[in-house]
């Protein structure tokens, strides 16, 4: 047989037809598609030995304890730490710790600003020498701002400041500071704690328990356990229900705390203190008294706030208020928490009113009530205690046009987080030499002359002592879970080194030595045990012996501004949007809903009645104007907002950090202005009015 050209073509045609009846073409097509998805430069998961270490989130202000899964000693996942007294769950911020280690917003090496305003790299010895020189020149004209109120690095900051002759060491404003000021005004040398574990009724007035107030993860765990208990019993066939915690909430926005509260009492923003006085009046009408020196004056003050007057000033529904007061009286261990929807700016007076309600409920230092915790210990000679640092108000300092020669910021971003950020930025720009110890290139770091990278919580050894809100004294140390991903050093060790170079002996060579010394204050827990993840706990309480409720201060400081042509501004916090220090974690961008952010435009919310009154409708593009600054937004009509109130979420409007935080909405702090709270020495910014108009 001869295979000629025609025959060959037939053979090829046959082969082509035949091959179509085999997997070859389809398999090749499929494999080629997969092959193009697996280029060599695409990172792959690496396997290896799985181990677990314990750590505490330093990104999350509530100090969430974490169990970190390591594969080949590389952190890959953050898990809850169920045994820890502050644990039992995980927050959306703590869970992002591993991913944030690789964030594009991180400061990767020490940076120094050049004459052209651009940053260039500098090595650590050079950076330390530069900072040392500036501190030596500045002497007592040095100021420190810390954004970590629960860590011992503050001892080094304050001891160094004192050694240089400066008293200007500040903590970023927080709920803890307002509570500390309230205690100071009442003559109580203690930290306010709340024993939710043993309480059966928690009334949160303003305090956003599940998002921003105090020990968020612990609060969530207790709510979950309390609500799940009857269902578990039902499944088991147990008829008698175990006691559960009921969370009630009063606030202007149906935030995540309000959504699960039973009931939610809508009130005007900034009316928390007045509502507490109204509740106090109703409790006294039922025979409750407090054992305070000035109780008579308090009774006189509170009697002004009849249920009708309280309803008029706060907007609360009198029936629901009566329901809550009845529940407080019938509960075995009720406790009242007063705070802010966004963990700042409420001032001390509302806390005074809240303490008075608790005193009337006779729950101070009682099981399930308010716990007066001993002040945090100080191990470094010359260092200021947390209580002493709380006494200094950062907003007052900025308002006083103080300009130090050197400003050192540790994990603090005042340019984003303080009211009127533009004014704060101008004040910081006026400082001749400013330094930021920061993990991320945030708004404040971007203004600095020297930016020194510090590690994430997983990359450094650090501690956490009794974060505000916890019901007992708790001390934990977080060990290094990971080798540093960037060229970092700790603030503490850098400043200890500089102090030594300056001839200042702060008593410790390394930060670890300071933590070892602090561990000695806690019985039953050695340094090694603490590093392994166990928390040192103490039930010790400060005896309540002679205190004042300070109705004189409440009378002057507790007012509710009435809206005229403006709406009341109700900022609220959501933990998934991060903090001023972190910005929005990349993964958490997925949790942003279309009704929260439309492109680059953030959403603000009013209820239907308010929208009609102002001639606004759902979807309108609006401008919020406080007379000084304006921010653009998209209006959403949501019935979970109090009348005459516009609700705005914190966490948007970053101009620094990374692509995951930038170009998303506006910073609501631009609409807030700090104003001195009468008689307390603090500033408050929980009551602001804004005009909302179509743009």
């Amino acid at each position: 047989m001869v295979l000629d050209r025609r025959g060959f073509m037939k053979f090829i045609a046959g082969a082509g037809t035949g091959i179509l009846a085999t997997p070859v073409v389809w398999k090749f097509t499929d494999d080629a598609a997969i092959w193009t998805q697996n280029w060599s430069w695409i990172p792959r998961n690496e396997g290896g030995e799985n181990t677990y270490v314990h750590a505490v989130s330093k990104m999350d202000p509530s100090g969430t304890p974490m169990r970190v899964r390591l594969v080949n000693k590389r952190p890959v996942r953050v898990l809850p730490s169920p045994e820890h007294p502050l644990g039992g769950g995980i927050s959306s911020l703590a869970v992002a710790e591993v991913q944030m280690m690789h964030s594009p917003g991180r400061v990767k090496r020490p940076l120094v600003k050049g004459p052209d305003g651009g940053f260039s790299e500098i090595d650590w010895p050079g950076a330390a020498e530069l900072l040392q020189g500036k501190l030596e020149e500045a002497k007592d004209r040095v100021a420190f701002i810390s954004g970590d109120e629960n860590g011992s690095t503050n001892e080094i900051l304050s001891a160094l400041a004192k050694a240089l002759g400066s008293e200007d060491v500040f903590l970023m404003p927080s709920e803890g500071q307002c509570a500390a000021k309230a205690c100071e005004l009442m003559g109580i040398e203690a930290q306010l704690g709340y024993d939710f574990e043993n309480s059966d009724y928690v009334l949160a007035i303003g305090a956003n328990l599940l998002e921003s107030w105090g020990t968020v993860v612990r609060n969530r765990r207790l709510l979950k356990e309390g609500q799940a208990a009857p269902f578990r019993n039902e499944e088991k066939g147990v008829k008698e229900k175990t006691p559960v915690i009921t969370f009630a909430y009063a606030g202007p926005v149906q935030n995540n705390t309000a959504a699960v509260a039973r009931p939610w009492l809508p009130i005007y923003p900034g009316a928390e203190g007045i509502l507490a006085l109204g509740i106090a009046n109703m409790l006294m009408a039922r025979g409750k008294v407090a054992n305070a020196g000035d109780f008579g004056a308090f009774r006189t003050l509170a009697s002004r706030y009849t249920p009708e007057e309280t309803a008029r000033l706060t907007g609360v529904d009198p029936k629901k208020l009566e329901q809550v007061v009845t529940a407080l009286l019938s509960a075995k261990a009720p406790v009242v928490v007063v705070g802010s929807e966004f963990n700042q700016g409420s001032g001390a007076a509302p806390l005074l009113a809240g303490f008075a309600v608790n005193a009337l409920l006779d729950n101070i230092n009682k099981v399930g009530g308010v716990a007066l915790l001993p002040p945090a210990v100080v191990a470094m000679k010359g260092a200021s205690s947390r209580a002493e640092l709380y006494k200094k108000d950062l907003c007052s300092w900025f308002a006083g046009k103080n300009t130090p020669a050197v400003l050192v910021m540790h994990e603090a971003n005042p340019v984003y987080a303080l009211p009127d950020p533009a004014a704060v930025a101008e004040a910081i720009k006026a400082v001749p030499f400013k330094v930021s110890f920061s993990t991320f290139m945030d708004e404040s770091a971007a203004l600095c002359d020297l930016v020194l990278p510090i590690g994430m919580g997983l990359e450094r050894i650090d501690d956490l002592e009794s974060p505000y809100g916890c019901g007992k004294t708790i001390y934990c140390i977080s060990g290094m879970a990971s080798i540093p991903q960037e060229n970092i050093r700790s603030t503490a060790n850098t400043l200890l080194y500089i102090a030594r170079q300056m001839g200042q002996d702060l008593g410790f060579e390394l930060f670890e030595d300071l933590l070892k010394a602090k561990a000695l204050y806690h019985e039953k827990c050695s340094f090694d045990v603490l590093v392994a993840g166990q928390a040192a706990e103490s039930d010790a309480l400060v005896e309540l012996d002679g205190y004042s409720l300070r109705p004189d201060i409440m009378a002057k400081a507790l007012t509710v501004k009435t809206a005229t042509d403006t709406l009341r501004l109700a900022p609220f916090a959501k933990l998934n949007l991060g903090t001023a220090k972190t910005g929005i974690p990349p993964y958490n961008n997925k949790t942003l809903r279309a009704k929260e952010l439309d492109g680059a435009l953030m959403t603000v919310m009013v209820n239907g009645a308010t929208a009609s009154q102002k001639g606004l409708s759902d979807g309108d593009r609006v401008t919020l104007d406080n007379g000084k600054r304006q921010i653009p937004a998209k209006l959403r009509v949501f019935e979970g907002v109090m009348n005459d109130t516009v609700a705005v979420c914190l966490g948007f409007g970053h101009t620094a950090l990374d692509e995951f935080s930038q170009n998303k909405g506006a910073n609501v702090m631009e609409l807030l202005t700090a104003a001195p709270e009468p008689e307390t020495g603090l500033n408050a910014w929980s009551q602001a009015g804004v005009a909302v108009s179509k743009s």
């Binding site: 025959g7 037939k10 082969a15 398999k27 090749f28 092959w35």
Partner: protein, 241 residues
């Protein structure tokens, strides 16, 4: 035309030249043979495990259960293959009796395998570089815990509408659910080579989406169980995070 001239010489000529369907048929047969018998061997590389391992010996003779070696970690993730420490907890020394001249082939193989394991891995502390027959690529999130709990618990007892048992994991053969994706124990005991695609590097048994959808897109799995849950979610984010 020239071709036509060739074929005008009669029937014998048609046999000599490549006229008719013969070349076409030959071509088709060659392609089919290549496509169905040769190509599958070419596209997959074949590798052998470091040493012979018998699941049957461990399960039947030693009485080990699946979770003794393939367990869930504390965080619920699946450990997959056992570590050296896990194996060495039993095999710190050679347990198999030394085979004699009359020993069966399988006994000799088992002894040699264990000897290799002790000498090369236990004594040196080196992890065994086991090869995985079936793994999913990084772009897919697969939870053994979810499949084990949700699929296994139902398929043990449930029946379809016609009363037939949905016995993916029948009580008498609990590994059957595992075998939905993994090679059977019999195949593994035969020491089948680990096959990887030379183009994609995927294992031969890596499941493609259409295979996942046998269950995930199965209408019966969308029924609400009364607690607002479906039995198998087929949304994209279920597997692709």
């Amino acid at each position: 035309m020239e071709e036509n001239k060739h074929c005008t010489d009669g029937p014998s000529c048609r046999l000599k030249c490549a006229c008719g369907a013969t070349p076409f048929l030959i071509g088709a047969i060659v392609a089919l043979a290549f496509g169905w018998w040769i190509f599958p061997d070419l596209i997959f590389s074949k590798q052998s495990q470091p040493f012979y391992f018998s699941h049957s010996v461990h399960a039947d003779t030693a009485g080990a259960s699946c979770v003794d070696c393939h367990s869930f970690r504390d965080d619920g993730s699946f450990s997959g293959l056992p570590t050296l420490e896990n194996c060495a907890s039993c095999h710190s020394d050679i347990l198999t009796a030394e085979p004699g001249p009359d020993s069966a082939k399988a006994e000799v193989a088992a002894y040699e395998a264990e000897k290799t394991f002790i000498e090369e891995y236990v004594n040196t502390g080196r992890e065994v570089p086991w090869l995985t027959h079936q793994y999913q690529p990084d772009n897919v999130f697969f939870s053994h815990a979810a499949h084990f709990q949700k699929c296994y618990t139902c398929h043990l007892t449930m029946k379809d509408r016609d009363g037939r048992a949905l016995n993916l994991g029948a009580p008498d053969n609990p590994q059957k659910l595992c075998m939905t994706c993994h090679p059977s124990l019999e195949e593994l005991d035969k020491g089948i080579p680990v096959a990887s695609n030379v183009l994609t590097d995927y294992s031969r048994t890596t499941m493609k989406m259409w295979e996942c959808e046998k269950c995930h897109a199965y209408p019966g799995h969308f029924y609400d169980d009364g607690k607002g849950r479906t039995f198998a979610n087929n949304a994209c984010y279920t597997c692709h995070k």
